[in-house]
Amino acid sequence: MAIAKVLGVETEFGIAGGPDLDPIVASSIIVNAYAQQGRTRINWDFEGETPDLDARGLPGLTSFAPVVETHLANTVLTNGARLYVDHAHPEYSSPECRTPLEATLYDTAGEEVLRRALLAANESLEPDQAITLYKNNSDGKGNSYGTHENYLLEREVEFARVIRAMVPHFVSRQIIIGAGKVGAETEDGLETNPAFQISQRAEFFEEVVGLETTLKRPIINTRDEPHSDAERFRRLHVIIGDANLSQVATLVKLGSTALLLAVLEDRGAEVFPSPPRHPVRALRLFSLDTTLLVAAECEDDRQRTAWDFQDQLWHLADHYVEQRGGDAVGPPEQVRAIVDQWREMLDGVRDDRGAIADRVDWVAKMRVVNGYQERYDLAAGDARLRAIDLQYHDLRAERSLAQRVGLRQLFSPEQVREAVHNPPTSTRAYFRGQCVARYPDQIVAANWDSVVFDLGQGPLQRVPMMDPLRGTAELTSDLLETCPTADDLLEALDR
């Protein structure tokens, strides 16, 4: 049986402005502004971080381990998330969630966290130093930053099978979850010189499989850092994907991927469509083709469009849910809703884009870009069209275009507020978030798989959380209720 697809999203936000226009300083101001509002001042604990381990088991000779930057602002929030400076961007890593819908809620809460951080930061800055934030993935000049997804997998699933099964989905899912982009920005992309392309990220991918995330980005990332019991679990770290402003797109991105991983665990890799012979080429070709008609040659000699791949993958997931249910992914009604939405979006991008412009980011963006271009008779790639592209992702309510194009909302403002402060209940994020909220003065640091306490005397005490499905409200809320202090908690855990 497929194991529960515990999942989460990490987003690096684009950042502009700030003192001396230094993005690292600006990012630190953002993270500290949020932390100083009293919400948290707890540091991240780097113990156990191994971003240089390769899931293929062999050290890639051309791969360099990511640098872990321990000196930059780095905090744990009461909702179980991590907010920190990654490279030169503020990053929000959502808490571990149990279902795609919950993960979408906590991704949305992340936008709200950054919006609050932005307001607080700008109150302390001169107007000409004001910072702005963007939930996007590139600057239009060849620099990209990521939106990553994480999924829990059984350790026994061989990595070669993950590659065999998932490449078709990762090259083709952009047609329903791409965030859209005016023009191109890499050498290869500029050669084609498209007016508009489907994905923000596609043209930045250069390899099929690899360990790197900042250079030579691979479609399948092999980082083997489970942040849990490595004997039992893998964490599939997905670095290919756009930052979505559409909540429905985020839901279907996470839901479709989690379902296909469950199919892989239960039915094996052989049931998946044959991958393209040249995955990187197919990925970029699909992004550049807003007609969705271009096909790529596959290893079984057939030609498939991105739509063909998605159609075949949808049938695979639909059949799986019909036959076996989708317990690994979520409750039946939620899984059904995800499968139905996926179908509607897939049919919509081909047959009736007006019907899904409230859900598919690239369609929503292209509609206004084309409309604006037509209204003012602008040349393709005009600065105003690029400004529309950028402002689609602007986090400021007064500037955001995503907030104006009529995207369907899945959550009430109250639900989002709640998720800004409180952790999900059905993973270990509950225990982490609750500890941060209840015992802030006794916690010196926390990370994905442990919380470290300092009780003032004796050594620091680390509480390990090696199973993402323990530390839930069901398992720990009574305990936490009966422990008014951290001393009580650690004593109770010792018993």
Binding site: A16, L293, Q303
Partner: protein
């Protein structure tokens, strides 16, 4: 069939499908157009005034 021929063929088939859709959904099309006009008016109000400079100044350090 080459890639190009295949695209050509699909395009022809697709055009036929779209043509019949348009006649059925004419009213819906009008509504979408009106909505888009309102939206473009609103975009005019919030779009950064100096688009050229705004776009030029948005330069990021690469991330993951």
């Amino acid at each position: 069939m080459s890639e190009q021929e295949r695209i050509q063929k699909q395009r022809v088939e697709r055009t036929a499908e779209v043509a019949s859709d348009v006649s059925v959904d004419a009213t819906k099309g009008e509504q979408l157009k009106a909505d888009l006009d309102d939206l473009l008016d609103e975009i005019d109000e919030v779009l950064e005034e100096n688009a050229e400079e705004f776009v030029r100044n948005y330069v990021q350090k690469g991330g993951q």
